[in-house]
């Protein structure tokens, strides 16, 4: 350069013009198309972390294993669920963690599902063996908790690749594997499941989402960015499976009514299930969130028949007709007006989907301060709306973790790791990001899958259990709700059996809150079987109005707060007008 004065003059001119020196690397911040105005950031709540992590010394020492073999077998990428179950009816929620296992036929390992008995004071004991829950085979995915035989003890259904398992709670601290007798094995690749009384006969039926027809022989080589070896997605297999619907005969057995109910007429790669009366016709409908295919909304026609109307009703695809990767799903009345919306977690770049229910028709709603805010960079699985800070508004927690490699690596030890998401509800479907991400420090950086919300320490605030792939379980203890008021409900029918899909309307002088009681939702997980409301600083008794699944409405006036109430059908005051459908 010095030998050429002409060049020197030119470079000087360049420098005077404000250009950069030649040969210098491009600083990322000085791009030619940098934003001209500051990027408006989403509202953010910065305060103390909402949760603290439970120490490993608590005894809840579950560690999930996907059995990853380096061969990128597809099921390794999807495993991991958790169920909250008070199996011994001592009032403390116990924790059932679903393991993967190992798929390698040369080194097969059965899944090490684990049941932890809650001893109180944040101590847990592994009671798996004593409870008879050791699983001999299969590859674990998730679970659903429900009292299918109406004996008052919560039973456990475990979904797997291979035979699913139905464990009947024998009421003495042990379970019996009644899969074969009950006829609910499926023997496929099941993911999420829900106990739901779709025909209103008082017995909990069983809906099971099935994913992909898979075997090691069908595995393919798949690649991510730049052709790096990676996990395949469901499209590579082109082998979706219909869900399974089992009708509870009431004698401890089920009949497979999938085909008779019409559920084989449309299906996709099912990962999530949600249930509820979405069209207010008095019958419980079924929703299946599919991965990379259109979702199904199975509208209950009565007489055991269902018709999929997701496309027309607007909850099958995104707003412009594109299928997304549906993972976890919840039915939630986000606007608190008596209609169940659907919130589905999706893959990076898609954004989570809120299907807002307007008189039985859904709109794929996207707003800058909606529950999908900030979700585009993440891949969501477990999901729950719950009032963590007890301010009377639903907050949102999403367990994130990639299914594919990409350029942004957050953790050297786990290239699929992402931070979880916590949003604080501001009411009317508006949210703000809570900092730190996921509500805890240090943030959870893992490949999170299933997740369950429940009051583990009976203090009226909601805690969290998150399953991360190939990592120890994370238990988050709520510290944000302290000092505020709450109320919880356990619902029973006239015969004292567990009730599902009742609609609760809680009235105080400040607001009306709506909930649907259905713990089997999210991703491969089962939530607190009790229905929880935060009440803020208000400590006066509340009024509860219930629409039972048979359509009858009752009111339970003047219920004291800060306690759990057992609400039984027929014990309230008859009422009308609150549920106009």
């Amino acid at each position: 350069m010095k030998s050429n004065p002409g060049h020197a003059a030119i470079w000087l001119a360049v420098v005077l013009c404000g250009c950069e020196r030649p040969g210098s690397p491009t600083p990322a911040a000085s791009v030619t198309n940098a934003p001209s105005t500051p990027i408006p950031s989403a509202p953010r709540t910065a305060a103390e972390p909402w949760f603290t992590r439970l120490e490993p010394s608590s005894g809840l020492d579950f560690r999930h294993s996907s059995g990853q073999s380096g061969r990128f077998w597809f099921p390794e990428n999807e495993s991991g669920g958790v169920g909250l179950i008070d199996y011994d009816r001592d009032g403390w929620l116990d924790v059932f963690c679903v393991d993967g296992g190992a798929l390698d036929p040369l080194r097969p390992l059965p899944p090490r599902h684990r049941l932890y008995r809650n001893l109180g004071d944040w101590k847990f004991a592994d009671v798996t063996v004593a409870a008879g829950l050791e699983c001999p085979d299969g590859y674990g995915m998730g679970c659903a908790v429900g009292d299918y035989d109406g004996d008052g003890f919560a039973d456990l259904y475990v979904t797997q690749l291979g035979s699913n398992r139905l464990y009947r709670n024998q009421g003495n601290g042990t379970f019996a594997d009644v899969t074969a007798k009950a006829g609910v094995a499926v023997n496929s690749w099941s993911t999420s499941a829900a106990f739901v009384d779709y025909d209103g006969d008082g017995h909990l039926d069983l809906l099971v989402a099935n994913y992909v027809r898979w075997s090691p022989g069908k595995e393919q080589e798949c690649f991510s960015s730049g052709g790096r070896r990676d996990y395949c997605g469901p499209k590579s297999f082109a082998a979706p499976l219909p869900p399974s619907l089992f009708h509870n005969r009431g004698d401890g057995t089920f009949s497979d009514v999938t085909e008779a109910a019409g559920l084989t007429r449309a299906y996709g790669n099912g990962l999530g299930v949600a249930t509820g009366d979405f069209d207010h016709d008095g019958r419980i409908d079924l929703f299946v969130a599919n991965d990379a295919m259109a979702n199904q909304l199975w509208l209950n026609q009565g007489a055991g028949r269902f018709v999929d109307d997701a496309l027309l009703r607007g909850c099958g695809l995104n707003t412009v007709g594109i299928p997304r990767a549906g993972m976890g799903v919840v039915a939630v009345d986000l606007l608190q007006r008596g209609w169940l919306d659907l919130f589905v977690t999706h893959m990076v770049g898609e954004g989570h989907g809120l299907f807002l229910n307007q008189n039985g028709l859904f709109t794929d709603s996207i707003s800058p301060d909606g529950p999908m805010m900030g979700s585009l960079p993440s891949t969501g699985f477990g999901v729950a709306f719950a009032d963590f800070d007890l301010d009377g508004e639903l907050d949102l927690y999403v367990a994130n973790g990639r299914v594919r490699l990409d350029a942004r690596v957050r953790s050297e030890s786990d290239p699929y790791a992402e931070a979880n998401t916590l949003l604080r509800g501001r009411g009317q479907g508006r949210f703000e990001t809570v900092s730190p991400a996921g509500g805890v420090l240090p943030e959870i950086l893992g490949t999170s899958r299933g997740m369950a919300v429940g009051d583990l320490d009976r203090d009226g605030t909601l805690d969290l259990v998150v399953i991360e792939k190939d990592a120890p379980v994370t238990v988050l203890r709520n510290r944000v709700g302290k000092g505020r008021h709450w109320v919880q409900f356990e619902l029973r029918d006239r015969a004292g059996r567990e009730v599902r899909n009742a609609v609760l309307r809680l009235v105080d002088d400040k607001r009306i809150q709506w909930r649907q009681h259905q713990p089997n939702e999210g991703y491969c997980s089962s939530q607190d079987p009790r229905t929880h409301f935060g009440l803020g600083t208000r400590g006066e008794p509340v009024r509860l109005q219930v629409r039972w699944p048979d359509g009858k409405a009752e009111e339970f006036p003047s219920l004291p707060v800060n306690q759990l109430h057992r609400i039984q059908a027929g014990k309230g005051l008859p009422g009308a007008g609150w549920f106009d459908w």
Partner: protein, 481 residues
Amino acid sequence: MTSSTQSRRTAPAAAPRRWRVWGSGIAMLLLVGWGASFLTHRAPLLPVARPAQSATLDPQVRAYVEQLASLVEADPRHPAKRATLGLAYAANGLWAEARQTFLDAARLDPTQPLAPLYAAVAREELGDVAGAQPEFRLLTEQHPAFALGWSRLGDSALRTGDLPLAETAFDQLVRLAPTEWRGPAGLGEIRLRQGQPAEAIRWLEQARGLDPAARGGVYLLGQAYRAVGRTNEARLTVGVGGNESRQPMPDPWSEQAPIHMRRLPDQLAQAEELANQGRPDLGVALLQQAHQFHPNHPGLTVQLAVALNRAGQAAQAVPLLDRILQSDPESIAARIARSHALAQLGQGQAALTEAQAATALDPRLAQAHLAVANALLAREMDQEAVESLRTAAACDPRNGEIHLEIGTVLWRNLADLAGAHAHFLQAVELAPALPRATAQLGLLQLALGQRGAARESLARLQVMAPGSPEAAELTHALKQP
């Protein structure tokens, strides 16, 4: 400026005129040389972005991007070469490298709006949609007549729910590119989200008029019809418009992107698409090139054999498949492909045996039963073929094309019009966006004397595939007495 400087210079009085001319010429040459040198070297000398984990890349991708990166290194100030490398990175999912390379290309040629556009697209692809949006906004400020920038800005704003920004963007797009359907479709989507379905219908019908094949707009129209209670139209329209993939507004660079794809799944999809477009030979060439990098990849080898079958080169497919089956006798895909190859080569019995072997390996696999049906049809065993097709349909009950095939065999080979009618109806129900199904149903309805029903089928066809050969065939048939 040069000449005026010269004219003001006072020449020595004794200097001959020719020296003045020579002097002027030399000065001019020097200035031109400096100018050329300035133009050549004023662009900064930027390093070439290379993949961070090159060793883990697919060998074909690695070879391709390294080749292009070397070309850029040889000519580092060439913006077009830099942009081509960026496209190659993007087409192979290397978005971080693509973004840096597009940013570099934008610095090398600040007048080219596509480079910053693609840098922002790469940022979106890296998951930072919110961060990309201001870049699109800046691009539209710097290049206000650049319709693509407005289109991307509108899409981005819709994704983040910023409806006022989206409206501004799509208004501009409508103004700048009045024949582009995405402008009115975007405005229609905004109106729909704002709860104004009647207004949305006006925009979305306009979008459909501009491009009836643009399914994303058609799906939105269905949602708008539904919102105003036009349920029957809505049901048809969402069925036709749904399940589309995302299609941003095309540009000269995006049209080049497929030629840079070197990842196996993309190449397999390209080969399939080429075959569907009637150019299976190009698909074969593509996969043969990939096969050189992955000679032992069973999936690719089988797909190459399938492509050879489709290109009428079954004789070349058979040895490839034999090699696969030697190492993995239980490869169902290889057996199915071999069955099709043998049928094509006129070896009907061998084709049937091979297909039956595939069904034995997985009795629930529809493709295996389809291969049996294919072998049976080749031997003119039509009734037996229908049974196999029915088994295939039972294995894959959502597949409308199988019912279309059953209907076709029943009608054309077995003269069972009533049976064919039932299967065509099922095909249309299961595959509402498949023009062939609706067209065949319409033709059969004509054969059955159901002219009214055939006209309804044509109306449906004109919604889903106006101007298609299927629509033309049915239209022509309806004109016959």
